[in-house]
């Protein structure tokens, strides 16, 4: 544009595309349509709030009288979570490795990726329903369901971590004449190890939460007890269960932190129990 010429329209620094405007309009229309379809009204929300107040009132004080039932459920949930995490991590390792396209030929990586994608495509509760049908009610179904979920999650993240390793380090190990599996052990795995510990502890955390839920469909753990308490309107027992689940998740979080400090920061047992800050950072650490 030549200097001094008046622009016909005020200039826009942030032009809005017409396609984006149409998309927003369609979204708004669908939102209103869905509201009318599902019989959502302000009146019902108001009624619901009053109802929720009564329901919350009955949750206090929590009733820990049936402690044996509570403990058994919690213990079973914990066992499901730990077993499923261990199995899932062990099984996710090979699939994650085989799926890495920078190390494996396409005919290996695609089938491995397919397995991982399938393992991730359903919510753990849906998978739990399938396993309850297959192996019957109880903890085994829950363990299998969460194992599948773990393979899906860790397998995917592990593959991505391997695909991001520094190829220079791998090249140097390869140049020493190391066989492929030794290159993996010395050139690849050290680079992804700390991230892998992160994935594993996150998955344990996620499995702990999910293991309190698969019980609702009969796959073992505290979820079954919780669901039964809801149906019998034992709201004081419900709140006792919810508080226990929160405690369980927090304990899991502490455990995860400890695992990370041991494996990633190389903390000693004494440092772990004394507390104190995280291990000192190396001056040249660039990550």
């Amino acid at each position: 544009m030549s200097e001094g010429a008046q622009p016909a329209i005020a200039p826009y620094a942030f032009p809005v595309s017409r396609a984006a405007r149409i998309m927003f309009a369609l979204l708004a229309i669908y939102f209103v349509y869905a509201l009318t379809q599902l019989d959502v009204s302000l009146e019902r929300v108001q009624q619901g709030i009053a109802h929720a107040g009564r329901f919350l009132g009955r949750m206090i004080p929590p009733n820990f009288a049936r402690s044996e039932l509570l403990w058994n459920g919690l213990a079973e949930s914990l066992q499901i979570a730990v077993l499923a995490s261990a199995l899932g991590i062990v099984l996710a390792l090979p699939f994650g490795l085989l799926g890495a396209r920078n190390l494996m030929p396409a005919w290996v990586s695609w089938p491995a990726r397919l397995v991982v994608v399938l393992a991730r495509s359903f919510h753990p509760v849906v998978v739990a329903i399938l396993f309850v049908k297959a192996v019957g009610f109880g903890a085994l179904a829950g363990i299998l369901a969460l194992t599948v979920a773990s393979i899906g999650f860790i397998g995917k993240l592990f593959t991505e971590a391997i695909e991001e390793v520094s190829i220079k380090e791998v090249e140097a190990v390869r140049a020493t004449g190391a066989p492929f599996t030794s290159v993996l052990a010395f050139g690849v795995l050290p680079q992804v190890f700390s991230r892998f510990i992160g994935f594993a502890t996150y998955q344990l955390d996620s499995n702990l939460r999910n293991s309190t839920m698969v019980g609702i469909v009969g796959a073992g753990g505290i979820g079954g007890t919780l669901f039964a308490a809801f149906q019998r309107f034992d709201y004081d027992f419900v709140s006792a269960i919810l508080i226990s689940i929160i405690a369980l998740i927090m304990a899991g979080e502490l455990l995860a932190t400890a695992v990370r400090r041991i494996f990633i920061d190389n903390a000693t047992l004494r440092q772990l129990f004394r507390g104190g800050g995280p291990a000192q950072h190396r001056p040249l650490d660039d990550d």
Binding site: V173, T176, S182, P190, Q191
Partner: protein, 252 residues
């Protein structure tokens, strides 16, 4: 004592029709330091990397130890590689492993994967690694993680890793380009020491002409993917340097 390295009509084109190396013919004696100088992008790295096949040559022969490295594959290639030590410009240490583990990487070609996974290296390898750390001036650093070292220290580990292979040929791809002048000289002295004590040929890519002159027994000058100078450092004149790098303002 080692063998000579004979390269015949070696060519490499990353993109078909645009060769980076044009029919390289060169024979490297069984001992001594040969440095390759030349402008960036002229194929020095490619030449070095073709020898241990980190880069696949397009055509030609690389004869070493009674074998054509250009055609080796599978186990034969691995066995050839374990006799060829390589030092990299950016050290290429496995950052998250300790110095000792990085040194033992040099033994991976000799140790079975089963032992490697369990970190069960023969005691003699560990003794040699400790002795080597002493030689390169890093005694007491065995359990440091590689990412806690300075550049010069890393390159010492890089050299020690290559020596751990008990190589019969040593390659170095711009080993001093990331280092300060004093450390560069120390690293070159280490490489010269390896060439002498192991009596093996050492082939080094360099940008620093003065350093190349000081340490080399023989200098190869490359330009445009061809060797345009081949001779002892004394014969490397300003005229030749002009021919290799082009221009002359930088000489004075």
């Amino acid at each position: 004592m080692s063998d000579a390295l004979i390269i015949r009509r070696l060519s490499k084109a990353y993109v078909p029709g645009k060769p980076v190396l044009h029919d390289i013919d060169v024979e490297i004696a069984a001992e001594g330091i040969t440095t390759i100088i030349g402008p960036s992008g002229t194929g020095k790295s490619t030449l070095i990397r073709c020898i241990n096949r980190l880069v696949e040559p397009s055509a030609g022969e690389i004869l070493f130890d009674g074998q054509d490295l250009a055609r080796a594959s599978g186990v034969a290639l691995r066995h050839a590689r374990r006799r060829i030590g390589m030092v990299f410009q950016e050290y290429n240490l496995v950052e998250r492993l300790t110095v000792m583990e990085n040194l033992l990487c040099g033994r991976l070609g000799y140790v079975s994967p089963w032992r490697a996974w369990r970190r069960k290296f023969p005691p003699i390898d560990i003794e040699r690694a400790l002795a080597l750390l002493d030689t390169v001036g890093l005694a007491g650093f065995a359990n440091r993680r590689a990412d806690a070292l300075s550049g010069g220290q890393r390159q010492r580990v890089g050299i020690a890793r290559a020596v751990m292979q008990q190589p019969r040929l040593m390659l170095a791809d711009e080993p001093t380009s990331s280092l300060d002048p004093k450390t560069s000289v120390e690293i070159m002295e280490l490489l010269a020491g390896v060439a002498r004590s192991h009596r093996i040929p050492v082939l080094i890519n360099m940008h620093d002409v003065a350093l190349a002159r000081r340490f080399a027994d023989r200098i190869l000058g490359m330009s445009g993917g061809r060797i345009v100078f081949d001779g002892p450092p004394q014969r490397l004149s300003d005229t030749t340097l002009k021919q290799i790098y082009g221009g002359e303002d930088w000489l004075h």
